[in-house]
């Protein structure tokens, strides 16, 4: 029985592909180490800011900085509840310091300084201040440059800690929640994109290039000059790739989970289905582009011409909403965009089957159509 399996064409073809793959040192690097390094590098650079210090001016209200005060000040009660440390800086300005720890992302330290409006404006112009706070009748007012991302971030963090309408809910607000919630970080955006890109690259090089290279070496022609079933050849090549892609994606996710605590908010089965559909799409496209040429340079060019624009435009590294409005609906039709967006919606936004059914169908159909057309013009010799 085992003898019969090990003698079968399909088994031998699969094993040949597996061996060729794992004996290629580049595979381990580009498929596994590189995406992890990329997520680590970009993730740390854009996500994990160690001990960010944010300076905030509190206008003309020395009394709210002190402990002993009977004013109904939202800010003061906020300081008290969160045990913001009272003190003076080296210029004698009264300060309150609040450190919000986050073991994954690094702490944020807010330094509230009691300043006059004029002093605050000077510091703001010098870039030493992120935001100005003012309190009128228990309502906290935020003053900041809406175009400045640091100020925006400070606002987001603060306004979440203080209540939304500026009033502190005194009793219940006794603990601090990390404000850079999982899901809103760059790493959460990046990992699904990297996984989708990995599938695309792996199919293009692992299927397309492998076929073209075998054709150019006349190995394809040699193989079909035996009773080998052609479908077995292709099935083995694609199946081994999909399995490999699965392992690569799993390892990247595992790493991102351990290092950055990323999670899957939505339906795991839907994520799985979308992943397989994406693999089908790119495998089909890969068969199509490798269907004719025997020149590896042409293969190289075709693969780059297809994958590079998608890598840049499909929002793997940054949101494609930065591109002009008119281009976005086109970008959204790229298979890489569909796969990355779908994976993000499941992993970050908690989507399920109903939300990603359309991309799953479109990606599968794309794979099917390209595969069939590729087979029609496929040159075995």
């Amino acid at each position: 029985m085992t003898e019969r399996i090990s003698n079968s064409q399909l088994f031998q073809l699969v094993m040949a592909n597996v061996k060729e793959l794992i004996r290629e040192p580049g595979v381990l690097f580009w498929g596994i180490v590189f995406p992890i390094l990329m997520s680590l590098g970009l993730g740390v650079a854009f996500t994990k800011k160690k001990d960010v210090v944010t300076s905030i001016a509190v206008i003309g209200q020395n009394h709210v900085m002190y402990q002993a005060s009977d004013t109904a000040s939202a800010l003061l009660s906020f300081f008290l509840v969160n045990k913001a440390k009272f003190g003076h800086d080296k210029n004698g300005i009264i300060t309150r310091k609040l450190r919000v720890p986050d073991d994954k992302l690094g702490a944020t330290t807010f330094i509230f300084q009691s300043l006059s409006w004029k002093e605050a404006m000077v510091m703001l112009k010098r870039g030493n201040l992120n935001m100005v706070l003012d309190e009128k009748n228990g309502v906290v007012q935020y003053h900041f440059d809406p175009m400045n991302p640091d100020a925006q971030l400070t606002y987001l963090k603060l306004s979440k800690m203080l209540s939304s309408d500026g009033n502190v809910i005194r009793e219940s607000n006794t603990e601090i929640h990390p404000l850079m919630v999982t899901g809103s970080r760059y790493i959460d955006f990046l990992v699904p994109g990297l996984i989708a890109m990995g599938v695309m690259m792996s199919c293009m090089w692992g299927v397309s290039y492998a076929i073209i290279e075998r054709r150019s070496k006349k190995l394809l022609r040699r193989m079909v000059a035996t009773p080998m079933k052609r479908s077995n050849f292709l099935v083995a090549l694609i199946a081994v790739r999909i399995i490999m892609n699965f392992i690569e994606a799993g390892l990247l996710f595992l790493f991102a989970w351990l290092a950055f605590n990323i999670t899957i908010q939505g339906n795991v089965a839907a994520l799985f289905a979308l992943f397989i559909a994406g693999n089908f799409a790119f495998a089909g496209i890969s068969i199509f582009i490798s269907s004719h040429t025997a020149k590896t340079e042409i293969g190289n060019g075709l693969i780059n011409a297809l994958s590079m624009p998608m890598m840049v435009l499909s929002g793997v590294f940054f949101s494609y909403h930065n591109f002009p409005e008119w281009s976005i609906s086109t970008i959204q039709k790229f298979p890489l965009t569909m796969m990355a967006d779908g994976m993000r919606s499941i992993m970050i936004e908690g989507a399920g089957f109903s939300e990603v059914m359309l991309p799953i169908l479109i990606l599968s159909a794309t794979g099917f159509i390209f595969f069939i057309s590729g087979m029609k013009i496929f040159r075995w010799h």
Binding site: S6, Q9, M15, A16, E20, L219, T226, P227
Partner: protein, 254 residues
């Protein structure tokens, strides 16, 4: 009752865009016969054997293998034929044994046959070596071993020793001579080494520019030289090269 020839080629033509590679060739090969297709580079040898192998289709003419055409009989004929293409590369990072196992599986053959073949081609010691690390001679022997896996009735080898040093070449010849002794396999081999043709084959077909110039047994062909105007130098044995020169004014290896 007449015996069906193993291979019959009738008035076959094949052109590429600007080149007429094969221009009307007829050829009949019977069981157990070893035939050399001898000709310089570009003569049309590869094109001819690939048409016999069913890899290329002739523009005109017919080819019968055991009395059957390729059309409609591909599955059956593939099991009867063993071949090695000019300059095939196998998978670099598979070893000799794995490569044999892979190709054996295409013929539904298992370990036992691979074991026989690896001994036949004397690569037992290289069984674990990656193909990429084999010498030219070892690679050619592997290609020959793969061609022999299915005990083919017809063996077609396209320049099996081109680029090999004399020792490596003789090792390939030894395998083929053994095969000739022990089986009724028919062989078609292309070469531009007349020595190879002389050593291995009983029938020789000299082609140039896509046409047969001469064909016959070695003794028959060498006998013809005596009647030709250009006579070889006395001190040397007469060779097929002399015949080729007298026919075309060129050396075979040019």
């Amino acid at each position: 009752m007449s015996i069906i020839p193993v291979i019959e080629v009738r008035n076959v033509h094949k052109s590429f865009k600007t080149v007429q590679a094969v221009r009307g060739i007829d050829l009949t090969i019977s069981s157990g016969q070893f035939v050399a297709i001898l000709g310089p580079n570009g003569a049309g040898k590869t094109t001819l054997v690939e048409m016999i192998e069913g890899i290329q289709q002739p523009d005109l003419g017919d080819i019968f293998i055991m009395g059957k055409t390729w059309k409609g009989n591909e599955k059956h004929l593939r099991n009867l034929i063993g071949l090695s293409l000019q300059e095939t590369h196998f998978i670099d990072k598979l070893n000799v044994w794995e490569t044999l196992r892979l190709f054996a599986s295409f013929f539904s053959l298992g370990k036992a046959r691979c074991e026989e073949v690896i001994n036949l081609i004397a690569l037992g010691e290289k069984r674990k070596s990656w193909v990429v690390n084999l010498s030219g001679g070892q690679r050619q022997r592997l290609a020959l071993g793969i061609a022999l896996l299915n005990n083919p009735k017809i063996l077609l080898l396209d320049e099996p020793t081109t680029g090999l040093d004399p020792n490596a070449r003789r090792e390939v010849w030894a395998i083929l001579l053994k095969l000739k002794e022990q089986s009724d396999t028919s062989l078609i081999l292309t070469t531009h080494y007349m020595e190879e043709a002389e050593q291995l084959c009983d029938y020789i077909v000299i082609i140039d520019h896509g046409k047969i110039l001469k064909q016959g047994t070695i003794s028959g062909l060498l006998g013809e030289i005596r009647d030709l105007p250009v006579k070889p130098v006395e001190t040397r044995t007469i060779t097929l090269d002399d015949l080729f020169i007298s026919l075309t004014g060129r050396h075979l290896n040019d």
